[in-house]
Symmetry: C2
Subunit: 385 residues, 2 copies
């Protein structure tokens, strides 16, 4: 019997949708060149500042997150200027690809998949191999489930008046405590299909005063992702090109919900789910791919010896309608990933762990049923009381 199987996303984007936001979007028939839409845009930007924990400008683009990442490169740099890139996964490699695409020479500090970008090595490069116009890094590398020490890196970059720090926080926002203003994160990139609980289609970029000065001087070509043009239009609640109106309506509703529950609680929620998933994995005799500095956004777990992680992913999908992620690139077949970004609650957590126990069993791993759930429940009780 197949019976009833509900589709549930446990992927690091797209993530479960906030239905209230979807319904709001569904019923919206706004034209974007109206006072009502301008008011909505301005309110949405105010909400985004709350979500980002910043007083900086936050821009909104109709694109996926990569578009705003590209904009960070093309708006900050000029031909001949150099960049420093920290990479330890597929998304770090995207910075390298973007720099190449624009002919920017980059010094790359890398770490093996599953480890952190070595901030001390980046500091040495900053001190000895500069000048660098910009430093690019991820807050959390969702291909490996690693969290980077953005705060320590920011401390080093802040002291350099000719260098900006750009953070891809697409899966970091809403899962990790980030302080753009306090720490000095000059450009912080976000995307809609992550902790903001709505579908893909919008990218965000917060931009510091320091970054705006760089942008005014930079000479790389850009058009759609022109940060300064977008800032000017956004001041009036406008966008340079047709905005994705229904997504903006959904974003407004979702950020209003996030403000209601509190951004700190949203982050604590992801932290609880991540810790509980790690404890559950250990209780089930599994090891973590990113043991050193695991992210709250997503937990990467090594498949048991001799078992292809794809089998576990498939069991989860076919049996339970639960979509979890396989590893990417060379990690494919070796790890699987459970996401904790955004709209998950305690019952979602217990459910996915219980399902995982059965999927592991079916894949040939010896499991004591209920042991993973118990470990997750204990973390819940420790954190929630």
């Amino acid at each position: 019997m197949p019976g009833i199987v509900k589709e549930r996303l446990f992927t690091p984007g797209p993530t479960p949708l906030l239905m209230e936001a979807q319904l709001r979007a569904l019923s919206a028939t706004l034209h974007h060149r109206t006072e009502a839409f301008r008011r909505l845009m301005k309110e949405t930007v105010a909400y985004l500042r709350y979500f980002y924990h910043t007083q900086n400008d936050v821009l909104i683009f109709a694109s996926s997150g990569t578009g705003a990442m590209e904009g960070a490169v093309s708006n900050l740099l000029s031909p001949g200027e150099r960049a420093l890139i920290g990479t330890a996964g597929k998304f770090g490699e995207r910075w390298v690809g973007l720099a190449q695409a624009y002919g920017i020479e980059a010094a790359v500090v890398s770490a093996p998949y599953g480890q952190c970008v070595p901030v001390e090595e980046m500091k040495r490069q900053l001190a000895s191999a500069g000048p660098f116009r910009a430093v690019f890094v991820q807050a959390t590398e969702s291909s490996t489930g690693v969290s980077h020490d953005v705060k320590a890196l920011a401390e080093a970059v802040r002291a350099l008046p000719e260098t900006c720090l750009v953070v891809d926080a697409i899966t970091g926002l809403g899962t990790t405590d980030l302080r753009p203003d306090e720490w000095g994160l000059d450009v912080v990139i976000g995307g809609s299909q992550k902790a903001t609980m709505i579908p893909p289609g919008l990218a965000f970029a917060s931009v510091s005063e320091k970054a705006w000065k760089f942008i005014a001087q930079s000479k790389l070509p850009r058009y759609y992702f022109d940060y300064a043009k977008e800032r000017k239009n956004l001041a009036n609640g406008e966008s340079s090109y047709t905005p994705a109106t229904t997504l903006v309506v959904a974003l407004h509703a979702a950020l209003s919900y996030i403000k209601e529950i509190g951004r700190e609680n949203l982050i604590a929620n992801a932290a609880l789910h991540a810790e509980a998933s790690r404890e559950a994995a250990r209780a089930l005799g599994l090891t973590l791919f990113a043991a050193g500095s695991p992210a709250n956004a997503v937990t990467a777990i090594n498949a048991p010896a001799g078992i292809d992680s794809g089998v576990i992913v498939k069991e989860m999908r076919n049996r339970f309608g639960a979509i979890i992620s396989n590893g990417q690139g060379t990690m494919k077949g070796k790890i699987f990933r459970l996401a904790h970004l955004g709209y998950y609650d305690a019952l979602d957590l217990f459910a996915v762990i219980a399902g995982l126990e059965i999927a592991l069993l079916k894949a040939g791993h010896r499991v004591q049923l209920g042991a993973g759930v118990r470990a997750a429940q204990e973390v819940y009780l420790r954190r929630q009381g």
Copy 2:
């Protein structure tokens, strides 16, 4: 921290909604006196016949289930005729109240809450205390979580040409194997907010040829719930009074989904969840309120000694947003009920059991965390492989 808490219904109606059906209803702007709506009504009735497992007429009323129950009394009987009622819970008592309201003398065969209506005693009454124009009973009594032996009762009634059997299957349909045609269930009552996965507002009644003969002779007053008038109109895809159009659209979509997964699988799904919940309760040191003949629709569990079931219900709601039911009437504070009607899948099951473990712990009951989930997982593996 409160954090993210999703609302989830585990009550024996309303039950979780099938979102596809809701969206279909949301976008419907049908007028009911149109060819499109008539076609929709006819298709919906065909789907209802599949869902009911019957070739009989199935009527649809804009009312809650009680309306169609009232119709069964007012359409089948005449002043001076007598009824036999089997009751072992709040819904059985509703038949008694309905008979009283229409001045129908009823012989009542009752059993204590938590037990079955004694079918042997009802057979004796049929043989010795008749004639009865109609016999009224529940397929499943959702106030106590008991399933009645409708098949055995039908066997006795079928032999009596002057007696009809009326079954309140509001929570029985889609959770219990019922065969109106094979067994001879003359009128079977259903409601929309149950296994059909849509909101409250529609009632159903299947009517056998035998029942139509009784209806043609009956003389009790009726107007809104006039079965014969409704049958005549429904043959043309019409309804006697304004139909609840959006609910009919939702019903059409939900029954189409049910046909796709198969009514047998829908019933097997409820049976799995019920068995797993009973095993989980036992593993957590709890006893069942209806141990003898438990229903698939809903599991009634005794609160641990010294603990008010309301505390458990409240913990589930406040901590996890999970709405479970307290006992009704004299059972209030003593039992709590978990429903399995309709749109639940395996992950819902594991989630509610994991939440229940924590709620029990918080209410002061000693619980081995994960033990209930493990019991449920074992039932899942036994049934699903």
